[in-house]
């Protein structure tokens, strides 16, 4: 499973510890999630998505996410 927790966390200016406190896990668990070493339960995935106020599929995906550079280039061309 792939995720973009680190990107969303950076965007919201949240530290790993702050996010961990909100979703009630150990900060190390957020680290393992970001690194892809651990697949979260549905409950934890929904909690993380709720913190960033986005649908869960924007953060977690079964297929790799498009690189940000590619997305920016593509959206730039579209506009």
């Amino acid at each position: 499973m792939h995720n973009r927790i680190a990107i969303f966390r950076a965007e919201h200016g949240l530290s790993r510890r702050q996010l961990a406190e909100v979703v009630d896990v150990n900060p190390q668990t957020i680290g393992y999630l970001e690194r892809g070493d651990y697949k979260p339960s549905l409950e934890l995935a929904l909690k993380v998505a709720a913190v960033f106020d986005v649908p869960v599929e924007l953060i977690f995906s079964l297929t790799p996410f498009e690189a940000i550079g590619t997305t920016l280039r593509r959206t730039g061309i579209d506009q």
């Binding site: 896990v25 150990n26 668990t29 680290g31 393992y32 999630l33 690194r35 070493d37 651990y38 979260p40």
Partner: protein, 168 residues
């Protein structure tokens, strides 16, 4: 207080913190990946068990001492290792890590017990070992299995993932 003495006292404080004993006393033990210590415990205990199996006579105590050294080190694993104890609060990742690690530990201990008991029975049946030698070997096997049960879960949990650093 002069600067040198102050630095020395700070160094002492940091050294005590590093041991994990203050956090252990507070009831929040510092968890860390222990990759080499369980390997050392298992190595000592395994050499000891092999020695005991090959020298059931007067030199038996050497192997037995090695098993006990491994057993002693292995018993430190649950205190400082990465796995939280059953009475500690653990999140879903830590519960999964604990479940998987103890499953591996139990499987290893069971396999060692199964192999050890059948080896003892076989050597007794072939009259290579006497009843008293078999009794000694079974006692050594018992301590070896306890060392396995303490060290293998920590070993598995420590090598399964890389530690997460604060800066990462």
């Amino acid at each position: 207080m002069n600067d040198r003495r102050h630095r020395f006292l700070l160094w002492l404080d940091r050294s005590v913190e590093w041991t994990g004993i203050p956090s252990l006393a507070e009831g929040t033990p510092r968890r860390r990946h222990l990759r080499w210590l369980p390997l050392l415990a298992l190595l000592l205990a395994s050499i000891g068990l092999t020695w005991c199996a090959m020298h059931s006579g007067r030199d038996y105590w050497i192997g037995y001492s090695l098993i006990m050294a491994g057993f002693f080190i292995a018993n430190l694993m649950p205190i400082w290792g990465p796995l939280r104890r059953l009475n500690e609060r653990a999140d879903e990742y830590e519960r999964k890590q604990r479940r998987d690690s103890f499953m591996v530990g139990l499987a290893t201990t069971t396999a060692a017990g199964f192999a050890g008991i059948w080896l003892t029975v076989g050597l007794l049946a072939m009259q290579i070992w006497s009843a008293s030698a078999a009794q000694q070997e079974l006692m050594a096997l018992g301590f070896y299995m306890m060392a396995l049960f303490s060290a293998v879960p920590t070993l598995y949990a420590s090598w399964r993932t890389r530690p997460i650093t604060e800066e990462e």
